[in-house]
Symmetry: D5
Subunit: 95 residues, 10 copies
């Protein structure tokens, strides 16, 4: 599983809509509206690099209202949870 | 459930150790070593604000090697997954 | 009580109007026009996280003229005053 | 009443101690440990400019552990609360 | 006397006009076009905080062409000159 | 007369001492401890460029405690006051 | 061979098109869409400084959608590969 | 093939040594000392994500003199060259 | 001779035109299109401060396409060349 | 002729010494102590890229007191002066 955290600066008039649009996307497991310098944070979990690339530089680019995005790709995941299993169920449909 | 994303700048000599130390902490569901401007990203999921405060301004402050941390607290969570249930199991022990 | 400090960069033509609009909002206890890099600072005191979220990512987003906002949520409050009582009176109407 | 918001970057080993030390100081009505880029935010309410100057460039400068501070002085206060009365009680001892 | 230094970023087409407009304002003792990151620096000397607030968040806000302003309010003044007397003459008309 | 505004970041333990040391220097007409991102602002008024250079890259460099300084040299001065006369008295001793 | 790395911030609506347009240009050996603060990174390998200048301040300037570009010119190349030979083939047509 | 560009800020006393050390590492195809804000840029080409992670958060972390590194991972590569073949030779030994 | 280095951020569509326009101006001895964060660097050599002020806050302000400029005025010049003589010839026409 | 402008941040205790040391170096035509965010600006004029690289990543790196340097390499030079001839004399000794 390839995981990435995306820090998003969004047009203030479209924050809830962008959050909902992203949360519906295959490969995005969670979207948070957050305090601090960024407006939204998306957690991406995809099976392959290609799926990650297609999502970040394909579908996400088409979401109207995103002003800037900064993707932090995970090198290694440290967790007491078995995240693969927990989230893998949601990804059976591939992509 | 209170969720927060913590962006961490870490002393280069202690990145893996800090990641492991954090991942063992109650309340931290995942820690990623990441590409980009930050070194680690921790995802916190706690049952209450007090538990979040105690973790971020208590136990996490004591981890040697963290140079700067920026906590983004989630106002709202958007997800197709039932995260509460998925992660709630891990938090039965409270805090 | 959940407290947050919001640092606001505002369109120069609407600073007084935005300050007044915010000061009228349930959950905002004070708004200051300030010296320095920011234009306004709002102090939010709400009974619950949900109320904070609804205010920051709901009503405040609709205020015309706010260019950027950075919310600093309080983990812990240190004060010789009994703020809860002082401000709780103003929040009996909930929200 | 002269009000100011002070954004503080603090040595990670001394955040709780600095918060407590500041909260005990005459003229500081509240100190918050906060999420985001800053570590602490102090709200200052003093009767005169001189009291503000003495506090910020006198007593606060002597608190060990403050790395950087940025003071935002309020030009105007907008609030539904009668803050003067609420906080004036605490300032009868002057300074 | 309340003194403040205002660092101004100005629309390049209106730098001389903004400088002249500001220099005519009661309470502004000097305006410099400067080298470096800022375009203009204004030195404000007013008798009271209220006069400073009215100038900075009132009249100055209405000057067309100011993109960003950052006000540094003086806590203490150190000088071999008796500035109060030198500049007080110019402020007999109040404001 | 050559005028310059110097924005100073100073070691927190030496702010008052540095301010006093600078205020005693020939060519420095005022020093302010200020709110905001900088700690001190010095206003320099010297008869010649050479005097300015000697002050900024000579005597001021030797003041212990100045971490960073950013000098904004005035191209033009706009003022209703006759600053030349007001401050020229203080500079009869040259430099 | 003159090598340079160009960090590009691109209009979100034109990232793939700009990448393709650049990759077709003589002198650009690779273009990557990347994670992090920048959108694209181009690796330039030209035979002469003039060819580099003509590419960066000539043809690349005409590509619609590039908002900002920051060129890092290589002083020295360290590699176990014989890059000159590997890429020189592609540059026989000069430019 | 997984490609990444690493922007490096290096201790000025060790720039050439760090460049040579990195260039000898399996997975690093080129290292440039560069003009501009960064000191070195490394181009990484590895067969798998795991190899990239092991290199960036393993071996590279142990190189003395690197102050800060910012890794930009390539989502997609656009090139007229058949880079895979050109560089794949160097990676037959895996890792 | 008064010397200054001007760092210029320019509208990408007008970089060559702005460079040529500046290079024709009396008082500007050289203009470079450069790699890195800035687009152009101009070297100014004028006989007096007034000429420098007139050039930077007069003629240069009228050049269409300059987005931001940051002027670094030289306090002292260190050189093995007799620059005064070398460039003075070009300034006989004054200004 | 290869020209570059180097923006230097220098240890405050060594600004004049660093300026003199640089000005004596073959390939550096001028060094200015300057107002603004940087401490020194050096103008480099060398016959070849290799000479530039050897100077910037060789001799200049050994000068004690330089904290950070940012080299802006000239793509094109625009000037009414025949700089090549003016400065070429000083470079007959090569390098």
């Amino acid at each position: 599983m390839v995981t990435a955290i995306v820090l998003l600066t969004v047009d203030r008039d479209r924050i809830p809509q962008v959050a909902e649009e992203l949360a519906e996307m295959e490969g995005i497991s969670e979207v948070f509206s957050v305090s601090g310098r960024y407006d939204l944070v998306a957690v991406i979990r995809t099976p392959t690099n290609e799926a990650l690339a297609e999502l970040v530089t394909g579908r996400m680019l088409k979401v109207r209202g995103i002003e800037r995005s900064e993707t932090l790709i995970a090198f290694k995941v440290y967790s007491r949870h078995d995240l693969e299993t927990m989230f893998a169920l949601g990804m059976e449909g591939g992509g």
